[in-house]
């Protein structure tokens, strides 16, 4: 659980198969995506403090490995449902960053024509069925998507991402059970970042691992280090393979940490600065994965560092795109309610 480079050879050993499977190009792209996500979030925060953004936002800085590891384990045609802290999932899914930024800033060129905003970015054409402002709101929907897949007899899977807090919503229980009894191809990915707003996970649960709930539904449950992108990849890949074989859903808990407050207006009285610093310094997923790829000789250090600049460039252009985009016309206000 550190970025100490003496550990890297061990990790390379452990993830040997996975590294082979993904190949250098995809591995590099994954690191790049992690950088891009972080850059997006940082810019989002900046735009917010400049007053360019109305509403709220939930930043996933520190959690990039979960988004990237999970998305890379799936295929074209698979489905994604995610949650309020969802920018990273959406970017990792490959959705256009320009249209994301435009949505975040409420522009007509945004994925949702500026109607959705940060909490509702969706890329329906890519089977990304959207972030959700309701904690666990996407979870019951995922069983329906799984049911559709089963009835249509395709080899798709549906991944639904939710937080530790979401795991105590009743909807989760119903969805896990239904997916289990019908062997639906759903991957329930719980991104446990240790807090639900101000609620520390140990106060909200009387168990140590959220994945322990899986047994109550007769499905596999696994807890992985959510700051280790390859660990997340591996677990999600296994769950996806299982789902594609028709063997049903899995519950994966990815343990990670958010560096920023819950949303724009969080004084963070519920945790210490030291705790945050510890995670930032010793377990940062980007540093770790960068170190792994360089140690493994897949990137040079320069290349790895350069990715940060690439990311910033991508984000600059997305802001430019959004700045140049029209705001929605009030005349179209009533559009798009009914199909």
């Amino acid at each position: 659980m550190t970025t100490n480079s003496t550990l890297q050879p061990e990790l390379i050993q452990r993830f040997h198969n996975v590294i082979e499977e993904l190949g250098p190009e995809q591995l590099k792209q994954m690191l790049q995506d992690m950088h891009t996500i972080r850059a997006f979030e940082e810019r989002a925060e900046q735009l917010y403090s400049l007053g360019k953004v109305h509403g709220t936002m939930h930043l996933s800085i520190g959690q990039e490995a979960t988004a990237v590891g999970a998305a890379n384990a799936l295929q074209d045609g698979d489905y994604l449902l995610n949650h309020h802290r969802g920018h990273g999932h959406c970017l990792a899914w490959g959705s256009d960053v320009n249209r994301m930024m435009a949505e975040f800033t409420g522009k007509e060129t945004g994925f949702c024509r500026g109607r959705g905003g940060s909490m509702h970015i969706a890329d329906v054409d890519a089977n990304n069925l959207g972030a959700n402002g309701i904690v666990a709101g996407g979870v019951p929907i995922s069983t329906g998507v799984g049911l559709s897949i089963k009835m249509r007899k395709t080899s798709q899977v549906c991944m639904v991402i939710f937080g530790d807090g979401a795991a105590n919503e009743g909807a989760l229980h119903e969805a896990l059970n239904m997916a289990s009894i019908w062997d639906l191809p759903v991957i329930f990915l719980c991104e446990n970042n240790q807090y639900a707003m101000s609620m520390p996970m140990p106060k909200a649960f009387n168990i140590e691992k959220i994945s322990d709930r899986a047994a109550g539904y007769g499905i596999p449950g696994e807890t992985v280090d959510g700051n280790e992108v390859l660990a997340v990849y591996e677990a999600v890949k296994k769950a996806a393979d299982r789902a594609r074989r028709g063997e049903g859903p899995s519950l994966i808990e990815s343990v990670t940490y958010r560096y920023k407050g819950h949303s724009k207006s969080d004084k963070q009285a519920y945790r210490t600065r030291d705790e945050v610093n510890d995670w930032m310094e010793n377990r940062d997923p980007i540093k770790r994965f960068g170190a792994l790829l360089t140690t493994a000789g897949i990137t040079s250090e320069a290349e790895a560092t350069g990715m940060r600049d690439v990311a910033l460039g991508i984000i600059d252009r997305s802001v430019e795109f959004s700045d140049n985009s029209p705001t929605p016309d009030v005349a179209g206000l009533m559009e798009g309610v009914y199909a």
């Binding site: 959705g116 069925l129 709101g137 329906g144 049911l147």
Partner: protein
């Protein structure tokens, strides 16, 4: 024409929709071998198999979510909520998800699902099995709300609802399931949002929904003997509402009342009154607009109390008579 019960008409509609389109399926509690709490899906399991007539655990939010997700991913689910009361467990999925997804995603997704549920009292099932909550859904942008009052409408509106690309809340009535009426064999659609004048008359416009349509008919049969003619208007689709025929009717009669079973306060009747009161019909009004609806109490168990809680034929007669005679 051949006669069917309301339940049979619904079943025939379901059968025809499922036969015509493999994306249509049913999901709900005890809809398979049991045939549904009110027998609507009796026999469909044998016909279509357990893959398309899906019995669920008792998980109403899960059922609603399964419909939303399946609809988003290419299917056309028809969910059943065993009693309308239990829809209280699904409000998040219906109101914050199904109804909003399309708009929230800038018009890029659609949720073609139908959620059927029986409302109403009259069977002695007491306070937790007798709700009439349709106006909650009327209040939600993005939903459609359909409420058939005859076997003919039940089948035609159900087929149109299944064809619709939006989430439709389809409200049946327990006491109507066994009522009979003419129903064509071939599939037919009654367009959603088409209010119907089901009886013409010149003295009082009665806007009635669901079971109150037939009660209003019985009241009209009585009142005609006294020379009072009721014009009965059935919206059939409550949202979106086709209010033109209502306004027209009130312009003709100059007197209007709304009758529904749901609790009066905060109910659909207010919407109808408001439509009339802000329309050009206002100038034609010769009397206050009246509402006749459920009392502001939970539905009691005891039979006489239950009966006294919601409008009966005699109540409609009394109210319409007063209105016609200028007693308001």
């Amino acid at each position: 024409m051949r006669e069917l019960t309301y339940a049979e008409a619904l079943r025939e509609g379901l059968r025809q929709a499922m036969t015509a389109d493999s994306r249509v399926f049913m999901i709900g509690e005890d809809i398979g071998v049991y045939g549904g709490a009110f027998g609507v899906s009796a026999g469909l399991l044998a016909e279509f198999g357990a893959e398309r007539i899906i019995d669920t655990p008792i998980s109403e939010a899960g059922i609603a979510g399964a419909c939303v997700g399946a609809a988003l991913a290419g299917m056309r689910p028809v969910g059943e909520i065993q009693f309308m009361d239990f829809v209280t467990l699904t409000m998040e999925q219906l109101v914050l998800q199904a109804a909003k997804v399309r708009f929230m995603f800038g018009g890029k997704a659609s949720v073609p699902m139908v959620l059927r549920m029986p409302g109403g009292s009259g069977t002695g099932a007491a306070a937790q099995h007798s709700e009439s909550l349709e106006n909650w859904f009327v209040h939600v942008p993005g939903l459609k709300v359909v409420m058939p009052s005859t076997p003919y409408d039940a089948k035609g509106l159900l087929l149109a609802s299944i064809d619709d690309n939006n989430p439709v809340i389809f409200v049946e009535h327990k006491l109507l399931y066994k009522t009979k009426g003419p129903v064509p064999e071939e599939p037919y659609r009654i367009p959603l949002s088409q209010t119907q004048v089901v009886r013409e008359g010149k003295h009082v416009t009665v806007v009635a929904t669901s079971i109150m349509v037939s009660r209003a008919q019985q009241a009209a049969d009585e009142l005609v003997k006294e020379g009072i003619e009721l014009e009965i208007v059935d919206p059939r689709t409550l949202k979106p509402l086709d209010d033109a025929p209502i306004i027209e009717s009130v312009k003709k009669t100059g007197r209007a009342m709304v009758v529904h079973e749901a609790v009066e306060m905060g109910g659909f009747g207010g919407e109808i009154v408001a439509r009339i009161a802000s329309s050009e019909a206002f100038d034609y009004l010769e009397a206050p607009i009246r509402r006749l609806a459920g009392k502001d109490i939970p539905i009691p168990y005891n039979r006489e109390l239950e009966r006294a809680t919601v409008p009966q034929v005699e109540d409609i007669i009394a109210e319409a008579r007063k209105l016609a005679r200028g007693e308001y």
